[in-house]
């Protein structure tokens, strides 16, 4: 099987695509295919990796024009069309490389982030957004001697968002991130919402304020690509929707409060 890989490093005039012949044995993942290409054909091929078990979030890349974890994506399933995933309003800035979906797998770096080399992107923009939402637990009261109590139902609500592995697949799939480089993006907003709904914080809607700006909660267009590509099933669109409702309600209450004498 042909695996067609985006190649670029500083000094090259423009990117090119290299094609590697890889045996698509059962269960073989894109990450394994890249290791094969690197060890057998070209040791200059660069891509990030770590856990190879879809838990660390390192190896997100654009596979057949969809952001996915390379370690979780199997060659066989791609070719069989089992992983086809339509994305909404998704305009890719990369080369319009001809690509025969029936017999080739196309592997490119995540869009919306600058390429360092080949499949490695600079994640700084993504983590700047992460830091901007002040992602740290701020308890509402002094630490008790034991744990603060929490119901299993609350844990289930929080787990919807705490399972995020910060792989940036959502950031790369988001059409708003594609056109607005200042948009904080789905992962950071979902993370912020996780703190908002943590009953141990007791900050109320004030916790939402670090993203209460045009490039925060309000930039989302609800195309829901984020949720579709998330390897962990996190729904950032849902967090954004809830946050907006809450902020709108507060503003409405405040406005109507002002009218009263």
């Amino acid at each position: 099987m042909k695996v067609k890989v985006f190649r670029f490093h500083p000094g090259m005039e423009k990117p090119r695509y290299d094609t590697f012949m890889i045996e698509p044995t059962q269960g073989k993942t894109v990450l394994t295919a890249l290791f094969e290409a690197q060890s057998r054909y070209d040791d200059s091929l660069a891509f990030r990796y770590s856990c190879r078990g879809a838990v660390c979030g390192t190896c997100a890349m654009l596979i057949n024009r969809v952001p996915r974890l390379a370690c979780r994506t199997q060659l066989g399933s791609l070719v069989a069309g089992n992983l086809d995933l339509p994305l909404s309003h998704y305009v890719l800035p990369l080369l319009s490389e001809p690509w025969d979906k029936r017999e080739e797998i196309l592997v490119e770096p995540l869009p919306n982030l600058p390429v360092i080399k080949d499949l490695i992107v600079d994640m700084e923009t993504f983590f700047t957004c992460y830091r901007a939402i002040e992602p740290v637990f701020r308890p509402g009261d002094p630490d008790p001697e034991k744990e603060r109590l929490m119901t299993p139902e609350t844990v289930r609500e929080l787990e919807r968002y705490t399972t995020c592995i910060l792989c940036a697949a959502c950031f790369a799939a988001c059409p708003v991130n594609g056109k607005n480089p200042r948009y904080m993006g789905p992962a950071a907003l979902a993370k912020l919402y996780r703190f908002r709904i943590d009953p141990r914080e007791q900050q109320g809607a004030a916790r939402l304020s670090s993203a209460d700006r045009p490039d925060g909660w309000w930039a989302c267009e609800f195309q829901t690509n984020c949720r579709r590509v998330c390897p962990k099933g996190v729904p950032p669109d849902m967090a954004i929707g809830h946050a907006r409702q809450e902020l709108k309600k507060i503003k409405k209450d405040r406005d109507s409060g002002r009218k009263e004498p």
């Binding site: 690197q38 308890p139 910060l166």
Partner: protein, 571 residues
């Protein structure tokens, strides 16, 4: 010419997993300057993959017949599990600190799974007399790592991400920093520090069948022994009983803690024969040996595996308690545990041995400290219990930082000349490696070394086979100098990083091999076909590996005993 990039801190921490992050927090609270260096982004550290949980005698869940848990019982289980090789003072310290450590993480925001009454949930784990393991579903490491990274981010502690440490700097017998290659640019940096903490994790990837992340190549252990510190108990390598067939991705012990059972091809629950009392929840060394024996006896399934059956737990419990395991089984084996058993086989999982340190985390080399999996403070001895590794990382991450805080206040600022000359040396070394041509490729040598470790130093070991294995390690090492990397660029040259990792893998493999050959007994994870019994008269001792000229020499040091007298392990 631009000034060489040299950075000064009171403390540098090599490794950004749980130990490194926890230590950094502690050091920053003491108003000392510190930085974390990691070859990956901290959130990509292998800590993230820990599934099952963290042991602490919180007493949130009663034991059988209403028995009450305590740190003493936790210590007893840990020491018995270690086959009495653990240092009992270290174990006692860890177990006493455990409850406060779980609570501390809760106070930092970790979302632990909860009981109906709102307290932190606990579940049974292998080799433990109580339901003692606190957990966050089956993503405990992920949850804690993200919590600690949030804290480190909040404190604005500098993190040198994707910096690969290339050497420790020694000045008059004292470790005064390190050199590191900035992977994405290829620039060599120097770090000057009063104290250096090694927190680099295990060395599982010197084996081919490992549950570990691909990055776990034993860099810290190799750097330490090369710089003059010693390694301890390196032959004690844990093989996890249940890694997914083929990919060897971890299937947590929590699966059996929740009630999962192991089945051979005859449909037999074979663990009843090997561990009549604990059955599937016997310690890992016992279960791994049992599975291997079933496979060798022809009672395994095709491809060398047995089945882990969760179906009787029911869909709801699997979705609630083991969601990550379910996804892994679906993604990587095409099996949904709700309807089908999971094919599993033993795989290398954990390094009980490591950089030898005292209870305060000081290594044999002044200025160098170590904690977590890369270290051996000896809380796991010859076999680690599930749920104790996450505990060790956070407890000793904090405690080693306290030692460092005490020690560095009286240390002078180190001289920068040794760091500068080490940088120059490293620059020349890298140019030398990239300058080679016409030699042999890198990757087959990595594969051969891993294959040797798997086949000659696996679950069942035998003297003559291991001696052959050691010979293979030496022969492969001779070929290092002949390896040619085609990519001649300095920036983001992953082949170069893999080459440097391979250099680290050799002393680590050699220490494992020598320790295993010379320990003529069976204890915990170290099983000798030719010496099947434990031999307390000769080997109730730690193995000490240190560098003597170009060779590794083995000596022994006594185990610190205490409240528990060694006895036969029955489960």
């Amino acid at each position: 010419m631009a000034r060489p990039p040299v950075h000064d801190y009171d403390v540098i921490i090599i490794g950004g997993g749980l130990t490194g992050l926890r230590a950094a927090l502690q050091i920053s609270r003491a108003d000392l300057s510190c930085a974390i260096l990691s070859k990956v982004h901290p959130l990509r550290s292998h800590s993230v993959a820990a599934q099952g949980g963290m042991n602490a005698s919180l007493r949130n869940v009663p034991g059988s017949r209403g028995a009450i848990d305590s740190w003493e019982r936790h210590a007893y289980d840990t020491i018995k599990g270690s086959d009495y090789l653990a240092d009992q003072n270290s174990v006692v310290l860890m177990c006493k600190e455990a409850a406060a450590t779980v609570i501390e993480l809760e106070h930092m925001g970790t979302v632990w799974s909860r009981l109906e009454n709102g307290k932190i949930a606990q579940r049974p784990f292998g080799g433990a007399g109580f339901p003692r393991t606190c957990y966050a579903a089956d993503r405990t490491g992920h949850n804690i790592l993200h919590t600690l990274y949030e804290q480190v981010t909040d404190k604005k502690i500098p993190v040198y991400e994707e910096f690969f440490v290339t050497s420790l700097v020694i000045d008059s017998g004292q470790c005064t920093g390190c050199t590191a290659l900035e992977i994405m640019t290829g620039t060599v940096h120097g770090f000057c520090a009063k104290a250096t903490l090694m927190a680099t994790g295990g060395f599982g990837r010197i084996f081919s069948r490992s549950t570990n992340a691909i990055i776990n190549t034993g860099d810290g252990q190799a750097l330490a022994i090369q710089a003059g510190a010693f390694l301890k108990d390196m032959e004690f390598v844990q093989f996890h009983p249940t890694s997914l067939k083929g990919t060897n991705i971890l299937i947590s012990e929590a699966a059996r803690g929740e009630g999962g059972i192991l089945i051979n091809r005859n449909g037999e629950r074979f663990m009843t024969r090997y561990a009549p009392q604990s059955v599937d929840l016997a310690p890992r060394d016992v279960v791994a040996r049992a599975i291997e024996q079933e496979i060798v006896a022809g009672r395994g399934f095709d491809g060398g595996c047995v089945h882990l059956d969760l179906r009787h737990l029911g869909e709801e419990r699997i979705r609630e308690r083991l969601p990550g395991i379910r996804l892994i089984a679906i993604d990587f084996a095409g099996v949904d545990p709700i309807t089908e058993p999971i094919p599993v086989q033993p795989g290398q999982h954990y390094s009980m041995g490591g950089i030898g340190v005292g209870i305060e985390g000081r290594s044999g080399l002044p200025g160098l400290y170590a904690a977590g999996e890369c270290a051996c403070v000896s809380v796991h001895g010859a076999n680690r219990l599930g749920g104790n590794s996450l505990l060790e990382t956070v407890v000793f991450g904090r405690l080693v930082a306290d030692s460092i805080i005490r020690d560095v206040r009286s240390e002078p600022v180190p001289a920068s000349e040794p760091v500068l000359s080490a940088m120059k040396e490293m620059e020349e070394k890298i140019n030398g490696i990239l300058g080679r041509s016409g030699g042999e490729p890198l990757f087959p040598i990595i594969d051969s070394l891993k294959e040797t470790m798997d086949t000659k130093f696996g679950i069942f070991r035998e003297g003559s086979i291991m001696v052959k294995g050691l010979g293979e390690i030496y022969k492969l090492r001779e070929r290092l100098g002949n390896i040619t990397i085609s990519d001649k660029n300095r920036a983001a040259n992953q082949a170069l990083i893999r080459y440097l990792e391979l250099e680290y893998m050799f002393p680590v493999a050699e220490a494992v091999a020598l320790g295993a050959i010379m320990r003529k007994e069976s204890r915990g994870s170290h099983t000798r076909m030719d010496y099947p019994a434990r031999d307390d008269d000769h080997f109730l001792n730690h193995t000490i590996a240190s560098r003597q000229n170009e060779e590794i020499a083995i000596t022994y040091a006594p185990v610190t005993l205490g409240m528990f007298t060694p006895e036969e392990r029955v489960y």
